[in-house]
Amino acid sequence: MLELFMDPLGLLVITFFVMGIISVAALVLVHFLKNEKIKKGLLYFLSVWGVIIAYCGVRSTPLYMMDQILITVAIGALSVIAFLLQKFSKKENKFQIARALVSVSVVAGMIDCFMI
């Protein structure tokens, strides 16, 4: 069984689990923690994480499936928008909007990367 996990399939499964745990943990904490500083830090982390997930999705998609690639890029862009919104916007509810965007980006990115 161990040999099976040393080959590409095994690496894929392990990568999936690791990325899944990180994504779920970070998403839950950014929604439920009360410390504003930590929440902001997690938001910035999730923005970067969303871009990493989108990158993995783009790299795992064949080039002839351009529409799929574009969808993956759009999903990743949501994370970038969330980051810019949190950093530069003066809106009062910017954190809530950024958090929603980054949640959508991470979840959709994971589905796109591993399921589609």
Binding site: L9, F17, G20, V24, K34, I38
Partner: protein, 353 residues
């Protein structure tokens, strides 16, 4: 003392933290369980999809192996997720203890204005609230202590200054008598009377210092007569050295409750200031009148030109102000170039009809 409502509130809050922790445990467990199930299902689908796409030839047993392997990894992932979530969420709640400890440390360093931010609604919040209340109470107590100490020092300064006035008078008169070669019987008698009068005054002021500045009010039917006597004493102090212009015609007849010693201190301070700061070449004016329904005393004089600057400690004027405030009056000082004027609105007039 705790009221019934406080006890009920306290009991409720004592359960809140444990309920919160239990809630966080339940939420972490639920999320971890859901994640375990989702990760397991998705990983299985992923494996089947990969096997189908890559056209891998794997036996049923190998597939079972893979699925059990995935189950094991999902289980471990669920546990790891549970630990991360539970420790992060509970740790954040308990980290508040550090803030409360900071506040208690500040209390120990007498930083009374330090306030612990209140977060949540549990025992720790109650503790933080109590520490903040204790801090405020201590600050108020310290402020009261400081005020009492200040008042005490002010009373001592004021009475000490007022004791010095009759003492100075006795000393200057003694000096005068010592320098005179031939003393007549009348002069000796006058000196003895002055010494006796000033000694009595010093005794009264010392008694007042010892009993914490209590007042001895007496009702005077003829307040105007009392004022005339005090003005006479004031002029007796100064007439040898200064030219005095006294005007009492505008003062109406009135009655009221007064402490004679306090009024004497007012006039002694006025006389003392004249001796220290007034120009002896020009007249000193004293008027007494009714103004805005108050008995009003106005003293004005020209100031001495001195070679070196003599700083007034203002203790005399502060003493006058404190006494006048007790009668509901007010003191107004005006100083223009070389002229100094003090207006004392002493007390509201109750006119004798």
């Amino acid at each position: 003392m705790w009221s019934n409502e406080d006890v009920i509130e306290k009991t409720k809050s004592s359960q809140r933290l444990s309920k919160e922790i239990l809630g966080l445990f339940g939420a972490s467990f639920l999320i971890s369980t859901i994640c375990f199930w989702v990760l397991n299902e998705v990983a299985n689908v992923l494996v089947l999809k990969y096997v189908k796409e890559e056209l891998l030839m794997i036996s049923e047993y190998q597939l079972y192996d893979i699925q059990y392997g995935i189950l094991g990894i999902s289980f471990v992932s669920g546990i790891v997720l549970f630990i991360i979530l539970f420790l992060s969420l509970v740790g954040e709640r308990l980290a508040y203890i550090r803030e409360v400890v900071k506040g208690i440390d500040a209390l120990g360093r007498h930083e009374w204005n330090y306030e612990i931010p209140l977060r949540g609604k549990n025992e720790l919040t109650e503790l933080a609230k109590r520490v903040n209340e204790l801090s405020k109470e201590e600050e108020a107590f310290q402020a009261k202590e400081r005020q009492l100490q200040e008042d005490k020092m002010s009373l001592i300064r004021s009475l000490s200054h007022d004791i010095r006035t009759p003492l100075t008078s006795m000393m200057s008169y003694s000096e005068f008598m010592r320098q005179k070669e031939n003393l007549t019987t009348e002069e000796v008698k006058a000196y003895m009377e002055l010494v006796e009068q000033k000694s009595q005054q010093i005794k009264v002021l010392t008694d007042r210092l010892l009993d914490g500045g209590s007042r001895h009010l007496a009702f005077f039917e003829d307040g105007r007569l009392l004022m005339e006597q005090l003005v006479d004493a004031w002029s007796a102090e100064l007439e040898d050295e200064f030219l005095l212009e006294i005007s009492l015609e505008a003062c109406p007849a009135f009655s009221g409750e007064f402490d004679v010693e306090e009024l004497r201190r007012i006039f002694d301070n006025l006389a003392s200031n004249i001796r220290k700061y007034a120009d002896a070449t020009l007249p000193v004016q004293l008027q007494m009148m009714e103004k805005d329904g108050y008995v009003c005393i106005i003293q004005s004089n020209r100031c001495k030109r001195l070679n070196r600057l003599v700083e007034s400690t203002r203790i005399g004027i502060d003493s006058i102000r404190k006494i006048v405030t007790q009668y509901g009056g007010a003191v107004r000082i005006s100083q223009m170039e070389d002229t100094f004027s003090i207006e004392i609105k002493l007390a509201k007039i109750k006119k004798n009809l």
